[in-house]
Amino acid sequence: MSYDKMAVCYDTQSCIKCFACVISCSTENRMRLQRDYNYTVEKSMVEEQPHLNYLRVEVNEKGKFPNVSQIAAFKHCQHCDNPKCMEICPALAISKKETGAVVINQERCVGCQACKDVCPYDVPVFSKDTGKTYKCTMCHDRLTAGMQTACAVACPSVAIFSGKQEEVISEARKRAEHYSKVFNKEYFVYGADKVNDTVGTLSYMTIAPVENRDDYLLPADPSSGVAGGREITKVIGTAAIIGTAAAVAGHAVYSAVKLSGKDEHKENENE
């Protein structure tokens, strides 16, 4: 099948921070467990499973009373045009779909967390319970079924919208232009144009005032975390060898890697 390029956009200005999107993402992922993994709804809805919140909230506060800024930024996969996570994944578990969505194949993921380390936006989250890494899928299944993403459909105030890329971009630019005029400062659509060479354009865009770009976690020059991060060569070495086998014997591979990567995974235990 062939699909159009799709996109999602989050508008910080019309967002009323009701978190309906965040909850909707979380419930949708629980529904997916139920749908795809025979998990009962009774169980999926009442277990903590924090890694299923693919849309995360990060509150930052700056300044001194009473001149204080307080912003709850949303962290989610940006669906980079050049997904560093995909490049590095030793198990070939990550793919960029025709819609623009960058998706981790959970069956193939070996939990090495290489994607987490290189992601310029610190997006993927490792779950100690399942031994796998998770992130926003741009609701690939919903988009290809002609539905909006679960975050967009939840938004009571049209602050997240999804659809064909050119439509999303044109609406987003219209809004940014309007805000720039009304509020007399520059608003931009982060990700509509190439951000930098590392990530390229983004399929999940954000409308925000330029002056608040850091508060909303929208760096001007995002850099891949390969050099920083933890020491991962060892893990990758192990995982790459067995990576090809992952699709057929996902669980066995995952156990093997977990053993060899034990120490390296420790620092994530508090997540």
Binding site: C18, V22, V41, A145, A154, S157, K164, F183
Partner: protein, 841 residues
Amino acid sequence: MKLTRRNFMKTSVAGLAGAAVFTGSPLKTEAREITSADFGVENKTYLTCRMCAQNCPMVAYTRDGRLVRLDANPNTPYPSICGRGRAATAALYDPQRIKTPLIRTGKRGSGEFRSASWNEALDLIGNKMLQLREEGEPHSVAYFPRFNSASLLDDTIFNLYGTDNLFSYGDTCFGSTNQLGLGSVFGGGGEEPRQGNSSVMGDYENAKLAVLIGRNPVGGLVAFPWGGMFGRGRKNGMKTVLVDPKKSLGVGETDTEWLPVIPGGDVAFLVGLAGELFKNKYYDEEFLKEYTNADMLINAETLQPVYLQEGDDENDPDYQVYDTATNSAVMKSEAESPALYGEYNVDGVKAKTALQMLIDSCNAFPIEKAAEKSGISVEQIQKLAKDLNDTRPACFLERGYRATRYYNSLHEKQLISVINGLLGVYGRKGGLIYGRYAYLYSPFDYSDSNEISVNMWYKENVEGFELCDPYNMRRTFPLAVETEEPYKLRMAFLNGQNPVGGSVGGHKMAKALEKMEMVAAISPFWNESLLYADVILPDTTFLERSEPLFGQYKATFPVITVHDQVIDPMFETRNGYWIMLAIAKRIFSDDEYYSYFGDFEAGGVKYIVDYQLENLELDEADAAIFSRRKLIEDGVWCGVPAPVKPMNKPTPSGKLEVYSLFMAKWHEELLNQGRENDAKYFDPLFSCPPTYYQTLKEKLDNDEFVPITGFSPLSSFTGAQTRNNILLRNVGAKLNYSAVFINTDRGNALGLKSGDLIEIFNIEEPSLVVKAEVQLSETVEPHTLFSFYGVGNGLYRKLADKLSVASPIGFNPNHIGNLNFMPVEASAPSQDFIVKIRRAK
């Protein structure tokens, strides 16, 4: 503009631009297959959300009898349900729900219960009620309804049984303060002008500036339609100004101004703001002349109108004005050019126009003083006044919600309504527009022959309760229990209400419950009050029951919704109708039972719905487009928006009363009774009566704060449907929503850092000590100790085992607040006290 159904749907699509454009299929070529994403063929059920009290229209999808998805009902102009609504599945499947009937085994408050059969539990309750009725004291049963799962039927059963003692929760929220605050300006017919929360609403979508004072539309979120309207307003470029002791996220993070008001300093701020409006003539003279009583001549000594001709069926009211055409005082109806300003001698009486009175009262209170008392700087007040002038009439001051906070809250609400009148925003595009409703009626009988209710008795007999709203008041319960006046209360019946957690002075509620011969309760979840129950009956959640049609929406157009059962009741729970009928069978004779409820028993909820539809009352324009089929097929029906034009209201003067004659009358009456202190709160002029806590102390000590509480969009009231909800907590934890927030510098001065555990107590109730985690933040006004409402288990630590997802500690000011009452209108000043904090041992 008249909107037909088709037009209406068109507008709604336009309103939805963002969403509607983007639903197209992404497929280039092939026809789309049914995929697992939409679960193939779904069963759809329409219902309304009860995660809070707003009944937002929802749709549920089920597969194999299991709930798989919840969404906003798309068939309204503002399809919205919030995060709490979306997290309803976690409440439904919460393993800590009350699963069977329970009977208390330990002492009251201990939380020890055993499970029982339905028959045993119902017989216990039924027998007690029978006994009380046989002893001639059915009125000794106090009924506490809320989140009701047997609406319309439940009050009827208690009323027919013989008690009018219905203790409702509105005294904290929408009861007297808010009703009279707007009613005093708007009128409401009768002696006590009351207006509901939704009689006027901000036209957010078209507003250029919204001043949110005493209300954060996102914190206390009403998703449908307010959340949708507010967000669209932001999208359209509306600026927001937040007047609140706590800066909050939802009103906008950028391009919004925060005016951090000292708790209870709102009144001083409003007086300062009005002074600026007057000084610069930043008000709408034309509007004042045409629609308000600004030109009314007022006796400057008595504050009463010089001459008022009351209206009757034939004639509109009329009053004396000063006609500048003839330079004489004449009736308004005869005046050519009534003066808006000036002082006149009318037959030896020193008279001023109402507007002049208002102006002069502000002059007596300079802006510097307003700044000092409110904590909001002179420059900020001046800037806001100017911004309002630049944007009017597409601006407004929100008049608040959960309105009763401090002793001066009624005056605050009145001043807000007056200032909106000065700005001329009533009935104007982008200003405040009027609500419209559909009226639904109940098929059940009522009995008028019962003993007077406790609340009515208080209203008629007790000083300080004259203006209370006897139908929305519950905090008289502990008073009546203690004094046994007007009679002894012997049994309490809690139906979905949590008076211990939900009303300020909760500990006194608990004590009163302890004195009951029996406490019966119906609830799907645990809460503070249930710890004091003898018998608990497990209710269904809103997803497991059908309900009658609902029509009380806070919308500018009438809305009617359908509520059908989504899944079968879980565990041994039963829906409220089943439970109420089972009780009715036990307390009424067969003849009574069948004559009252026979039809309902045979027809079920459908019998009520049929009656509601047959007796549906709509405006003509709405009636013309109403379709029963559409309502059933769409799960919701929306009528025609209220016309955008100023309307005169039934006030004594027949005008919008920027000078409130209701207040003037009570002011005089209270003075005549020698009640100067009470009279201060009923001033028709701009003045600054103190809060209760300010009468306790001039200045707070280093370790003292005023306990402000506000809603978070992740919690609601004190129900465990949100409190014990893992999906909500996952997100709430990121906001540290179970902590108490204090200003960083003040915390530092006490040697505290974020994450420290502190103890909190009311300086008037030092024995009740609550533990909480502290979070230092620059987003808190320094006098303030802020907590999100209804998050932690607070004083009632016994709940920790029963609600293990909820924070075991945390602060709910209600638990330790005072049982005092607003002057004369007697609602609940929910945060008007002083707490001390200390590091926890």
